[in-house]
């Protein structure tokens, strides 16, 4: 029997970030027992019963020969990966079209917390960088147990965002990261594509592996508003625009899709993993993307 994954909205309603991160990660890992991503490490950890349908790759045939039972070997992580979570806190990330759904920033916060917990559970070192058009806070990467507390504390105290300037701030962060590692950027990428690409290229240039989680609200994708409306820019509140969304919907979607295509192409060119997600997408998908990347690194 399968159950529907818990939605981001339901997680957000729980309130406590540490609790949410634990629920997300534990739930995710329980689901992974039947997934092909389990067991990317090389250090044996324990035996587990092998159930029909599971891959026979890690079945211990010696034990089978002795006991006539199927057991598979479970390995634990032994690499010392350094991962840095970059969370965009600009004003545009504060957009949420529906009270029942988290804003993009809230979604990014939950995602970052979940990734941090998952990384630390794998004994990876994890750090955090918060920014809008400049750096807002930072937690250096470490693999200690207390690190999760530090990261969650920074995520809990997210400052009010301002205008986005992804390019310069990514350059700045890239210069500050001392060792090669994994860079996880969680942002809506609402900036000039060339600037964003340049910033990400900088990470690649310095030998980092990069995963970009592009978080968007569903309404940003479909512009599903009724009646004529005056739109106000979250990053520059003085900018307004009067429009009949129904009349502009098709052209808007076309333009937005072109932009997303540019972003995809740039990431592909720089060999950056791009995970496009919306605020109503379960976290499992993002975590799976991370694990896929981590497996390749391993």
């Amino acid at each position: 029997m399968t159950t529907a994954p818990i939605s981001p909205a339901e997680f957000a309603a729980l309130g406590r970030l540490d609790l949410i991160a634990r629920l997300v990660v534990e739930g995710f890992l329980v689901g992974l027992h039947r997934s092909p991503y389990h067991g990317f490490s090389s250090e044996f950890a324990e035996y587990r019963a092998c159930f029909p349908g599971e891959p026979v790759t890690h079945v211990d045939w010696r034990v089978y020969a002795k006991s006539d039972r199927l057991y598979r070997k479970v390995f634990s992580e032994e690499t010392n990966l350094r991962a840095t979570l970059l969370v965009d806190c600009s004003a545009s990330m504060g957009y949420g079209s529906d009270a029942a759904r988290p804003t993009k920033l809230a979604y990014a916060r939950l995602l970052a917390a979940s990734l941090a917990r998952l990384l630390l559970r794998q004994n990876d070192a994890v750090g955090l960088e918060l920014f809008d058009n400049r750096r807002l806070g930072s937690v250096p990467a470490r693999a200690v147990r207390r690190q999760l507390f530090e990261i969650l504390k920074h995520l809990d105290d997210l400052p009010a965002g301002r205008e986005t300037a992804l390019g310069p701030v990514l350059h700045e962060v890239a210069e500050r990261l001392p060792r090669r590692g994994l860079v996880v950027l969680i942002s809506d990428l609402m900036d000039a594509t060339a600037d964003v690409t340049a910033g990400l290229r900088h990470f690649r240039h310095r030998g980092h592996e990069v995963i970009v989680f592009q978080v968007l609200d569903p309404r940003e994708l479909d512009l599903d508003f009724k009646g004529e409306a005056r739109f106000r820019d979250l990053e520059r509140p003085e900018r307004t625009l009067r429009l009949e969304p129904a009349h502009a919907r098709a052209a808007y979607r076309e333009r937005l899709e072109a932009w997303r295509g540019e972003v995809r192409q740039a990431c592909r060119r720089e060999r950056i993993d791009l995970v496009e997600t919306t605020t109503d997408t379960p976290f499992d998908r993002a975590l799976l993307a991370y694990l896929s990347k981590r497996r390749r690194l391993a």
């Binding site: 545009s92 990330m93 957009y95 993009k104 809506d188 609402m190 609200d217 940003e220 508003f225 009646g227 004529e228 409306a229 005056r230 739109f231 106000r232 820019d233 979250l234 990053e235 900018r239 307004t240 625009l241 009067r242 429009l243 009949e244 129904a246 009349h247 502009a248 919907r249 052209a251 808007y252 333009r255 937005l256 932009w259």
Partner: protein, 710 residues
């Protein structure tokens, strides 16, 4: 070419065109604010589409407003080339108001007459001050509502509201002729004759219309306007009732036939006698078609019974119940008038007939239907003929002028007469005098055959009511009778019941007005025919007598006629009670179930030596009871004309064409407004369908444009 509107009041609805504009403006004021993450893409899109969108939005608004304006204009029913009634108000208005029964047909808003009355009131009140008005009701007999031309105003309109339609036929031509008489004495000119009618097709007689047109022209001429108020309605009803054509006795099987116009499938009709349900029948024909229903029952006790064939009420209630009278006799008075006797072997052929009708002289049994008396022709007085139900003239010889006139008068009403002309002494004279007086061809030619050449008979009309119910064997038996001597009748248009094999009529029946005449050109004595020895002779004699006596008063008069009854036994004051009856005063009561009787005056009259009581022409169908003092004299029945239920109406254009053909060209066609008044001239070209079509096209374009904009 002027543009007129039938419903100009609806043009105020054009204000509705402002609704899309108001909604548009209201929508612009009610713009909500939405915080959005990034306006870059929206700004680009708007810059690209804003101008086109703006133009398209205003174009949509314009199309919506235009569509509303066109729909409102269509509802106001514009006409191109119509004349405006308001600008041509006459100084003298003569309203011819159709008051026939068909005007009582119910439509969506009241009856046709209600609509006509509202329009007439509107026309009268719209007259300018100083104008005069007269109203002619076009019922069975046209009647002016006012004593003379009267001033237009509230009084005239109020008096108009009191008029009501009749149950009778309408006669537009007679009403126009009456209108012509009033036009001739109109104190003001010009005169407009406004004919308001449902234009029922059957009422329009072109020849009579032409005469009315001439009368109008001689009266100085008048402008004619036509206002149709009828919408075709299919309604069921009784159009005719046929009671048995013979005298009925209590308890004998009776079949009453009713012709009905079917209103709906499986419609049920009932026959009531004296308020009691007697029989029911269901029609199998399709709606709108005519069906003939048969009601079978046993004849009630002797007397005059009030009958009704009825069905459930529908939109035309007048013909949903048709009244009739059914008379059941306990005795039929048969008078045999014969020539002077010459001993028992003389002119004694009448005795065979007397014996066949009443064996034993009519005194043997109290239940005997026929009471036979005989008189020598010289002893007959007028009252004898009046008092008898059937008169048999058996070789009477010369009748004399007075008796001949009495026979003719009797046949002109509802009496039955049989003429047996076979005696060689007087047959030729009767053929020369009486037959031409009765409208039949004479003289008769004598035929004689030897014993070997005796002619057998042929029953020519076995389906005739005289033979009703007889088996084939009975008719075969009757045909075995032979004739040696008889007179040949010339072809006189009679219904021949029995004839020789050579084709000479032996029993021929003719209808004269309401009377029935039987001609038998043979002597009943054995040397002329052996009919009297045929087993079928007594039944034949009785059936002939019952037929000649008729089926009482089952056939009703139509509304518009004066109800009348003959006074039985009051001729020449010979009856002992006649003096009391004739003392009067006479009254006429119209009775309807649940409604107090209407009392109408009646008067005594004499016709052909016979007394009758008659009232004035009445406008309602039903039973009318004549009363003198405390005595009830009898009943009459009047029914609505069957044609009044006819659903075929002329269109205004057809009626105008018929009037033009009759000599009344340029009749202006008017129409009613939704509130019952008279609209402006409706004889122009109707524009509403074009406007509605255009509005539909515009709405289609608006839909496509708004989809493209979305």
């Amino acid at each position: 070419m002027p543009l007129t509107f039938l419903n100009p009041g609806l043009l105020f609805g054009a204000a509705a065109a402002a609704v899309p504009l108001l909604l548009h403006l209201l929508q612009r004021r009610r713009v909500r604010e939405i915080a959005f993450s990034d306006l870059r893409f929206l700004e680009e899109v708007k810059a690209r589409r804003s101008r086109a969108l703006g133009v398209r939005r205003w174009l949509l608004l314009l199309l919506r407003m235009l569509a509303i304006l066109l729909i409102v204009a269509a509802a106001a029913r514009p006409r191109l080339g119509g004349r405006d009634a308001a600008t041509t108000a006459p100084a003298a208005l003569l309203v011819v108001l159709d008051a026939s029964a068909s005007m009582r047909t119910e439509q969506d808003r009241g009856t046709r007459f209600d609509a006509a009355l509202a329009a007439a009131t509107d026309a009268v009140t719209a007259l300018p001050s100083g104008g005069v008005v007269q109203v002619v009701l076009a019922g069975p007999r046209p009647r002016a509502v006012f004593n003379g031309w009267t001033g237009a105003g509230a009084g005239a309109a109020s008096a108009l509201r009191a008029v009501a339609p009749t149950d009778g036929a309408g006669d537009p031509a007679a009403a126009l002729a009456e209108a012509a008489a009033w036009v001739a004495v109109s104190p003001q000119r010009p005169v407009t004759v406004l004919l308001i009618s449902d234009l029922q097709a059957v009422a329009w007689d072109d020849a009579a219309l032409a005469a009315a047109a001439r009368a109008l022209a001689e009266a100085g001429g008048a402008r004619l306007a036509l206002l149709p108020v009828g919408e075709p309605q299919v309604a069921g009803g009784v159009t005719r009732i046929r009671t048995p054509l013979r005298a009925l006795r209590a308890g004998e099987p009776v079949q009453v036939e009713a012709d009905v116009r079917v209103g709906h499938v499986g419609q049920v009709w009932r026959l009531e006698l004296d308020g009691r349900l007697v029989a029911e029948a269901a029609s199998a024909a399709a709606p709108g078609e005519t069906d003939r229903l048969t009601f079978a029952f046993a004849a009630p006790a002797a007397g005059l019974h009030r009958g009704l064939v009825a069905t459930a009420a529908d939109r035309f209630p007048v013909d949903d119940a048709r009244p009739f009278l059914l008379e059941v006799r306990d005795r039929l008075e048969v008078l045999i008038v014969h020539g002077p006797g010459a001993g028992a072997a003389g002119r004694g052929g009448w005795r065979y007939w007397a014996n066949a009708l009443a064996p034993g002289g009519g005194e043997a049994g109290a239940d005997e239907l026929y009471s036979v008396s005989d008189r020598v022709v010289a002893d007959v007085v007028d009252g004898d003929l009046v008092g008898a139900d059937v008169v048999l003239l058996v070789d009477p010889g010369p009748l004399g002028r007075r008796l001949q006139d009495a026979v003719v008068e009797r046949l002109a009403r509802d009496g039955g007469v049989a003429l047996f002309a076979g005696d060689s002494a007087d047959a030729e004279e009767l053929g020369r005098t009486l037959l031409p007086a009765l409208g039949l061809a004479g003289p008769m030619s004598y035929r004689a055959h030897g014993p070997a050449g005796a002619q057998e008979a042929v029953v020519v009309a076995p389906a005739h009511p005289v033979f009703d119910g007889l088996p084939a064997e009975a008719l075969t038996t009757l045909a075995r009778a032979t004739w040696r001597r008889y007179y040949a009748l010339p072809d006189s248009g009679c219904d021949v019941l029995l004839a020789t094999r050579g084709g000479d009529p032996l029993l021929a029946l003719a209808r004269r007005a309401r009377g029935r005449l039987l001609i038998a050109p043979f002597h009943t004595l054995p040397d002329a025919t052996d009919l009297a020895h045929n087993p079928m002779f007594p039944p034949l004699a009785r059936r002939l007598a019952a037929y000649l006596a008729g089926g009482g008063r089952g056939v009703a008069d139509e509304v518009g006629a004066a109800p009348a009854i003959a006074l039985a036994g009051a001729a020449d004051g010979e009856d002992a009670n006649a003096g009391d009856v004739l003392a009067g005063p006479f009254l006429l009561f119209r009775t309807r179930p649940g409604v107090p009787a209407e009392v109408l005056p009646a008067r005594l009259g004499w016709r052909g030596g016979r007394a009758f009581v008659a009232g004035e022409p009445v406008p309602r169908q039903g039973f009318y009871t004549f009363v003198a003092g405390t005595d009830t004299l009898g009943d009459a029945v009047l029914a609505a004309p069957a044609a009044e239920g006819d659903a075929v109406l002329l269109t205004a254009a057809e009626a105008a064409a018929r009037l033009a053909a009759a000599g009344l060209p340029d009749a202006e066609v008017l129409a009613t407004t939704p509130d019952g008044g008279i609209a402006a001239g409706a004889d122009g070209r109707e524009l509403a369908p074009w406007l509605l079509g255009l509005a539909a096209l515009i709405l289609l374009a608006e839909t496509r444009l708004s989809r493209r904009a979305a």
